[in-house]
């Protein structure tokens, strides 16, 4: 149980996908200009990352490892993610038009979000169990959503400030994200280990 808590805090705060691993930067810069799309994108990513990490765990340990073809994991995982995203889109459109309206346009973009393929590969490399993979995927997505929301607030403030002409738009977003990453360096893995000592 403690293990899961440590994984949760480590993916949300210490090894945040955007701020310390640089995964998912393209959607981060793209959708953080607008709060509504930031929230929509964030929830879509949490949804897909949680399912992906469990599904890839099942496929890796159920099919690839017994057959000894672990080296095919990149090809298999990306195909799983691409078809999963399509499937999720179809299912949501059929059963929950409201949810589809909220998440729909963000779903196709998620296939090329490196955080999704990233969590699948990290979970396999770290030898997580099924439950740990689920928690890792979900907390990776939650960390993504959190940083996206903070960034959308910061960019809203920034749009009212006088920014030097060459820095307008993307460069100032990068520098702001850098300042945020600097602040997040206060969360270290030793801090988490002190807060939640392993029995």
């Amino acid at each position: 149980m403690m293990n899961l808590v440590v994984i949760f805090f480590s993916f949300v705060l210490v090894n945040n996908f955007i701020l310390s691993k640089f995964m998912g930067l393209c959607p981060f810069i793209g959708v953080s200009r607008n709060r509504e799309s930031a929230v929509g994108m964030g929830f879509a990513v949490i949804f897909v990352m949680s399912i992906t990490s469990v599904l890839t765990w099942v496929i890796y340990h159920g099919i690839l490892a017994p057959l000894g073809i672990e080296f095919l994991k990149t090809i298999v995982f990306i195909l799983v993610i691409a078809s999963l995203v399509q499937l999720v889109e179809l299912v949501i459109r059929k059963f929950s038009p409201a949810l589809y309206k909220a998440l729909g346009i963000y779903l196709p973009l998620i296939t090329t979000n490196c955080a999704v393929l990233g969590i699948a590969i990290i979970a396999v490399d770290e030898n997580y169990g099924a439950l740990e993979s689920l928690v890792a995927g979900m907390s990776g997505g939650i960390g993504f959503l959190m940083v996206l929301i903070i960034m959308s607030f910061l960019r809203e403030k920034l749009s009212l400030e006088k920014v030097p002409e060459p820095f307008k738009g993307v460069p100032v977003a990068f520098v702001t994200a850098g300042a945020m990453a600097l602040a997040f360096m206060a969360f270290s893995s030793s801090m988490i280990a002190n807060l939640f000592p392993a029995e």
């Binding site: 990306i78 990290i122 520098v175």
Partner: protein
């Protein structure tokens, strides 16, 4: 024909002009040698996938072309991954998870969709080569700044016991270590893009065009 090669290096540089493929750019730019290795890997994947896709563009049905492209790209990424593990374990562990992530690098899929799926073999190969070189150059620029200022060193080659590394006296004892952290990567990229914007704006400022018009 030669234009297909050079456009990716400056005018349509994927990283600094079009802002594509930023995740690996930031992730592996802590060490100059890692940047070179990543660049060569991406050049290989881009050239090979562009070549195969342009040869197969008539066979792949239009509706499933994106999954088809992804499978072709992922195959070459797996080749790169296995080659690195066999021949350069240092680079393999240095690049880590960013090797499989070449699959979702927007540059590779972007060139497949925008260029290789519509053009003949030779232009596609040149396009992939040019885009790959442009990617590598911008990666090397950012890694150059980050390693020299952030660690005071410049690693050119690292394999087993042979290490070619310049140590800059003065800087290596007291480096600007914030640039070696993830936050520093974001700062450096922000400033480099701002610098390029400044040059672009300087060259297209209205006064210059007016003077040019007057001289003609």
């Amino acid at each position: 024909m030669i234009k297909e090669l050079t456009k990716g290096i400056f005018r349509e540089n994927p990283v600094l002009m079009l802002l594509l493929g930023l995740c690996p750019t930031l992730g592996v730019s802590g060490k100059f040698f890692n940047a070179i290795g990543m660049g060569l890997g991406v050049i290989f994947v881009l050239v090979c996938s562009n070549a195969v896709i342009s040869l197969m563009k008539k066979i792949i049905p239009n509706q499933v072309r994106i999954p088809g492209y992804i499978v072709i790209i992922a195959t070459f990424v797996t080749i790169v991954e296995l080659m690195l593990r066999a021949f350069s374990p240092v680079l393999y562990s240095g690049l880590g998870i960013f090797i499989p992530l070449i699959v979702v690098n927007c540059i590779v899929l972007g060139r497949a969709e925008a260029f290789a799926g519509k053009n003949r073999l030779l232009p596609s190969v040149l396009d992939g080569l040019g885009m790959g070189i442009g990617f590598t150059l911008s990666l090397m620029l950012i890694a150059f700044i980050r390693e020299i200022l952030g660690a005071g060193t410049l690693t050119l080659w690292e394999s087993g016991s042979t290490v070619y590394r310049f140590v800059i006296p003065g800087l290596s004892e007291a480096p600007v270590s914030v640039l070696a952290t993830p936050a520093g990567a974001l700062f450096v990229v922000g400033f480099v893009i701002a610098g390029i914007n400044a040059v672009k704006q300087y060259r297209s400022r209205p006064g210059k065009d007016a003077r040019k018009g007057a001289s003609v």
